[in-house]
């Protein structure tokens, strides 16, 4: 490049410098304003989602089984009712009726002890009836896709309740009276719901019922004192929700 052509080239750049400076300042001002006006800042992470529980009533049929039973396994068909005050808290009640199934251990103990005590009868208690009100809180709710094409809503909830439990089965008296067969039974647990549709959900729960009872008589046929112990019960069921329409969050 010769000296004669270089000077006009430089002059052209200097003439454009003010316009470029103005443009740069304008861009910076615009960019700063755009950053400060982030429309999503401070907003909820989830908006306008369908509320599957808020203001709805849940009526369900359940089937449960006690866990960790040494002598008598309890099958527990039952029912539940919940009124969901909001999408995350519900008040309701639960009812379960026990169907006993003796374990192999009970038969083994009866067989071995009766060899030394011919009058021995292995009396054991079972869960007869559990009924009472409960509250549940659903702190987690969401949705997932099964195999990439089947959407479903779910929630995880915590249960807290207190009611009455009957534990019949031992008729032998100790000190003139049989052990108590009805008592207060609080429980605590957790579970989940899987919504198959707007009105039907599958439920699973694992609750620990604190029941005061005597599990069995001893080798002399006498019942030891009753004591509170935790009884794990696993239940599964189907729930129906009414009304069928869903509310939407703000």
């Amino acid at each position: 490049m010769t000296q004669r052509t270089a000077i006009p080239h430089l002059a052209r750049r200097r003439r454009d410098a003010p316009a470029a400076a103005v443009a740069a300042i304008a861009v910076l001002l615009g960019a700063t304003a755009a950053y400060a006006d982030d429309v999503l800042e401070g907003t909820a992470v989830v908006r306008r989602n369908s509320l599957y529980r808020a203001g709805r009533q849940e009526i369900g049929a359940t089937f449960g089984m006690s866990l960790g039973d040494p002598y008598v396994r309890n099958l527990l068909p039952g029912a539940r009712y919940d009124f969901h005050l909001t999408d995350w808290i519900a008040l309701g009640a639960q009812l379960m009726v026990g169907v006993p199934i003796d374990t192999a251990m009970k038969a083994q103990i009866a067989d071995k002890v009766s060899k030394h005590n011919e009058t021995f009868t292995m009396e054991t208690s079972r869960l007869g009836l559990i009924i009472g009100p409960q509250a549940s809180v659903a702190p987690l709710s969401g949705k997932f896709m099964v195999l990439g094409f089947l959407p479903a809503q779910f929630d995880f909830h915590v249960n807290l309740g207190a009611g009455i439990a009957s534990t019949p089965g031992i008729v032998t008296t100790a000190a003139g009276s049989p052990p108590p067969s009805i008592g207060v039974a609080p429980w605590v647990g957790a579970g989940g719901r899987l919504f198959l549709s707007r009105v039907i959900a599958l439920t699973v729960d694992l609750n620990n019922f604190f029941v005061k009872r005597t599990l069995s008589v001893d080798r002399n046929g006498q019942p030891p004192g009753a004591a509170y112990a935790g009884q794990l019960v696993f239940t599964g069921g189907v729930s129906f929700f009414v009304p069928p329409d869903l509310k939407r969050a703000d």
């Binding site: 443009a23 304008a26 304003a33 960790g68 103990i109 071995k112 002890v113 001893d218 969050a249």
Partner: protein, 263 residues
């Protein structure tokens, strides 16, 4: 001769962009309120023109709505996976507690190395240590009936497993934060040593878990596992089931991921 001035054109473009970004920029869709745009129309326009205008605006609106509906049907929006799993290795450290056994209780600690072949499938190997003790029910049988039950406590073992993740989702807690999860089924087998003898006994393993993606390199999973094994007692051989509930902390390698988009 007028020479093209590229630098000035570039500056003009920048100015135009700045004006567009500025919130004070006015839109050209509608005239400002009160501008009296309606007054611009001549007072003596025939009524037929108004009817034609109304018909054209209605037709335009219908076409716009139809176009938008077609656009929604044809365009699919997919959210990126927060934590892709394919081709990554997960090192899991876990602990658990036995359920459903009234006589013997176990604590478990384990470490597992999982290789994620894809977003759904993973294979891995791991080792476990167990600590067992007699529960109150075990002592009660000795006390109440004078009987001494035979015991079998897990001690240590190793296993291999195959994981399948059929579901992927997300959840929120009171609208505060959204976390992604995936649920998986696992199956496998291994060998374990128990308190009855030093011989290694084979066992089968099935389970289910839910993995929460807390960070791109860290996950927390809740698992239920069922170990099924045959144990030889003095009187007979029995099939035992050890059900465990536990948590697994997963560290992912490599810790960061990047998406590759086809062009």
């Amino acid at each position: 001769m007028v020479r093209p001035c590229r630098a000035s054109a570039g500056a003009a473009v920048l100015v135009a962009l700045a004006v567009g970004l500025s919130p004070a920029g006015a839109t050209a869709d509608e005239p400002p309120a009160g501008s009296g745009a309606a007054d611009d129309a001549p007072a003596d326009a025939p009524a037929g023109d108004d009817i034609d205008k109304g018909r054209r605006s209605s037709l335009t609106r219908d076409l716009a709505e139809k176009g938008e509906a077609d656009l929604h049907r044809s365009v699919r929006v997919f959210q990126q996976l927060y934590m892709p799993k394919a081709g990554r290795v997960e090192v899991m450290f876990g602990a658990g507690l036995s359920l459903a056994d009234p006589m013997i209780k176990h604590y478990s600690t384990d470490a597992t190395l999982l290789v994620h072949l894809g977003e759904r499938w993973a294979i891995g190997v791991g080792g476990s240590r167990w600590a067992g003790w007699e529960a109150e029910q075990f002592n009660m049988i000795e006390r109440d009936f004078g009987l001494f039950p035979e015991r079998s406590m897990l001690q240590a073992g190793g296993h291999g497993q195959l994981q399948w993740s059929p579901l992927v989702g997300k959840f929120a807690s009171f609208g505060i934060a959204v976390l992604q999860v995936d649920g998986y089924l696992l199956a496998g087998g291994g060998v374990a040593r128990t308190s009855r003898s030093d011989a290694l006994k084979p066992f089968g393993l099935v389970g289910v878990g839910l993995r929460v993606h807390t960070a791109r390199w860290l996950t927390l999973a809740v698992e239920f596992r069922d170990m099924i094994m045959s144990e030889q007692f003095i009187s007979e051989s029995k099939l035992l089931q050890h059900v465990f509930a536990g948590i697994q902390l997963g560290v992912w390698l490599p810790p960061s991921v990047s998406y590759k988009f086809p062009r």
